[in-house]
C-alpha cells in the first residue's frame, strides 16, 4: 500500500522530471533553429539576437514590400521560423526611398531610427549586409570586361567602385575590378542579382559574418579621426612568470627518453 505522502512526493518528482525533459527538448530545438547565421533581414533590423526576441512574425513588412522581396520563413526553409528574410539572387531589395517595410513594424524589430537621418527616412544608411566578391570566379578579375554589379549598384562609385589594374598577361589591356566599400554597402543585393556568372560571384552576407574588428592594438597614425576610436582604450599589462629552470631544461629534456 502506497501512502498518500509517498504518492504526493512521487507525483511531484514526476511532474518536475517531465517539465525538465520538455524544457530541455524545447530549448534544444529552439536553440538549433535560431542558430542560422546566413540570413538577410529587412532594412533597419535590430542585431540578430535582439531581432529574434523582438520580431513578432506578423508579416507586416512582407505585405508592405512592393517588390515581394521579403518572405516569412516557412517550415522547410531552414531559417528561424516565421521571421522575415530575403534572398537577393531571387529578388533583391530595391531600396525604396520611403522604406515601406520599416514603419509598419509593430514591435520595433525593424527600427525606424536606424534608417533615419535628420528626421527623414534614409535607405542609403541601412545595413542589411555587405557584398563580397569572389575574385576567382568574377570574370572582371579574369580580364573580361564586365561591370554588371557596378552598374546595378544604387550607390554606384561609393558602395562598389572600379579599380584599374594592368593586365600583365596581354600587356596591353586593363583589369577593371569591382571593389566593395563596406562603409557604404547596404547589402541590398542588386549586384548579386545582376551578376552574370552561373552562381553569383558577388554575394551579400550578413555583416557579423565578415566584418572584422581591429581592436585597440593598431591605429592609423596618419588619420587624426582614427585616434578617437581609441579614446576609451585602456592599457592592460599581462605578465607571465617564466620558469628559468624549465627554459634551460627544455634543450636537454628528451621527454624521459634519456633518463636511464
Amino acid at each position: 500500500m502506497v501512502s498518500d505522502r509517498r504518492k504526493f512526493i512521487l507525483g511531484a518528482v514526476r511532474t518536475t522530471g517531465i517539465v525538465a525533459l520538455g524544457g530541455l527538448m524545447w530549448s534544444a530545438y529552439v536553440d538549433e533553429v535560431t542558430a542560422n547565421k546566413l540570413i538577410l533581414r529587412p532594412p533597419g533590423a535590430l542585431k540578430e539576437e535582439d531581432f529574434l526576441s523582438t520580431c513578432i512574425k506578423c508579416g507586416m513588412c512582407v505585405e508592405a514590400c512592393p517588390f515581394d522581396t521579403l518572405s516569412l520563413a516557412k517550415p522547410g526553409d531552414n531559417k528561424p521560423l516565421g521571421t522575415p528574410y530575403f534572398e537577393p539572387r531571387d529578388i533583391p531589395c530595391y531600396m525604396c526611398v520611403d522604406i515601406p517595410c520599416v514603419p509598419v513594424c509593430p514591435t520595433g524589430a525593424l527600427d525606424e531610427k536606424s534608417v533615419t537621418t535628420e528626421n527623414k527616412l534614409d535607405i542609403n544608411i541601412s545595413n542589411m549586409g555587405v557584398a563580397v566578391v569572389d575574385t576567382k570566379n568574377c570574370i572582371a578579375f579574369w580580364g573580361i570586361q564586365c561591370d554588371a554589379c557596378y552598374r546595378a549598384c544604387p550607390l554606384l562609385d561609393k558602395a562598389i567602385y572600379i579599380e584599374y589594374d594592368k593586365n600583365e598577361r596581354t600587356g596591353k589591356h586593363a583589369f577593371m575590378k569591382p571593389v566593395v566599400d563596406s562603409d557604404f554597402c547596404t547589402g541590398c543585393g542588386l549586384c548579386e542579382h545582376a551578376c552574370v556568372t552561373k552562381k553569383a560571384a558577388i554575394t551579400v552576407v550578413p555583416n557579423e559574418l565578415v566584418i572584422g574588428n581591429v581592436g585597440d592594438h593598431y591605429i592609423k597614425g596618419w588619420d587624426k579621426k582614427d585616434e578617437q576610436r581609441l579614446q576609451n582604450a585602456h592599457a592592460q599589462i599581462n605578465t607571465t612568470e617564466i620558469s628559468k629552470e624549465r627554459a634551460i631544461d627544455s634543450l636537454n629534456d628528451m621527454g624521459g627518453l634519456l633518463d636511464d
Binding site: 508579416g59 505585405e63 516565421g82 514591435t107
Partner: protein, 271 residues
C-alpha cells in the same frame, strides 16, 4: 432543415467567422485589402488600430525585448476584447487550428476510437505547465520560445503567406488528436489556450445551465471539448464560469430541452 440549422447554428457561424477572417487576412496580403493586415500574432485593423497577441507580447517581455507602445496597445485591445466576450472565444471562433482538431475529433468519434480508449491518460493541466515553461524558456534563451514552435502561427502563416512544409505541422496536430489523445492539442497542451483560459475567467458571455429543464441526456457533455466545465449539468442551475469553456456553443445547440443557453455573466450574486 430547420433542425439541421438548430443543431449546428453556432458551428456554422464559427466556421463562417474563422474562414472569412482568414480570407480577409489573405486579401490583406495578396490584394492589399485594408481591412485587416498581418496575422494573428499582430495585425493592423483598417490600417490604424493595432492588434497584438498578448501572449506573444508577454513572451517578448520575458525575453527582454523592448515593448513598443504600438505593441502594448495592440495587446491591451485584444486582452480587453477577450475579457468581455470570454477568453477562449479565440480558440473556437478565430483560431485556425480549431478546424483541424475539430476534424480529428469528428473522425475519432466516427471511427469509434473513443470506445477503445475511454480513459484519458493525460491531465488537462499540462497546458498551464507549458505556459509557465514557455515564459521561463523565453527568459533564459532570450527569444520568444513558443513563437518558434507554435503550430497556431505556423498554420496561420501557412494560410496567409504560403504553405511550405506547414502542412506537416497541421498533420501532426491532426494525427495527435486522432490517435493519441482526445482533444489533445487544444484541450491539454496549447499554452495559448491556457493563457486565454486565464483571461476568460472574467468573460461576460457565459453558458447558463437550467437544471429544471434538463433531462440528463448528456448530449452536451459528449459534444463538449472541455467537458469538465459542464460539471453542473443535471445537478444544479449554474452558469459555466470556468475559463476553460471556449464558448463554442456546441452544448447549446445540441440541447433539445433548452436547458443550456448563452447569457450575460451575473455580476451580483443572487440571494
Amino acid at each position: 432543415m430547420t433542425n439541421l440549422y438548430n443543431n449546428y447554428r453556432f458551428l456554422i457561424m464559427r466556421r463562417l467567422i474563422q474562414i472569412s477572417l482568414m480570407l480577409l487576412y489573405i486579401g490583406g496580403n495578396y490584394w492589399g485589402w485594408n481591412f485587416i493586415q498581418g496575422n494573428l500574432s499582430s495585425s493592423s485593423l483598417f490600417g490604424i488600430i493595432p492588434l497584438s497577441d498578448p501572449y506573444a507580447a508577454l513572451q517578448m517581455f520575458a525575453a527582454g525585448a523592448i515593448i513598443t507602445t504600438n505593441l502594448a496597445l495592440g495587446a491591451l485591445i485584444i486582452t480587453v476584447f477577450y475579457m468581455l466576450v470570454g477568453g477562449r472565444v479565440f480558440c473556437s471562433w478565430v483560431c485556425p487550428v480549431n478546424i483541424i482538431t475539430d476534424a480529428a475529433n469528428y473522425l475519432r468519434k466516427k471511427l469509434e476510437f473513443n470506445t477503445i480508449q475511454k480513459k484519458q491518460p493525460a491531465s488537462r493541466n499540462i497546458r498551464y505547465w507549458v505556459l509557465g515553461l514557455s515564459l521561463v524558456l523565453s527568459y533564459i534563451l532570450g527569444i520568444t520560445a513558443f513563437e518558434f514552435i507554435s503550430p497556431i502561427s505556423i498554420t496561420h502563416r501557412a494560410i496567409i503567406f504560403g504553405l511550405g512544409l506547414g502542412w506537416a505541422a497541421m498533420l501532426m496536430i491532426f494525427l495527435f488528436d486522432l490517435f493519441i489523445l482526445k482533444n489533445g492539442w487544444c484541450g491539454h497542451i496549447c499554452p495559448l489556450g491556457a493563457f486565454y483560459a486565464g483571461i476568460g475567467k472574467v468573460g461576460l458571455i457565459r453558458v447558463d445551465h437550467n437544471e429544471e429543464k434538463c433531462t440528463a441526456c448528456m448530449k452536451c457533455k459528449e459534444v463538449c471539448p472541455e467537458n469538465q466545465v459542464l460539471f453542473m449539468v443535471s445537478k444544479k442551475s449554474l452558469q459555466v464560469l470556468d475559463g476553460e469553456c471556449t464558448n463554442c456553443g456546441r452544448c447549446v445547440e445540441v440541447c433539445d430541452d433548452d436547458a443550456l443557453n448563452f447569457s450575460i455573466k451575473k455580476l451580483l450574486k443572487e440571494k
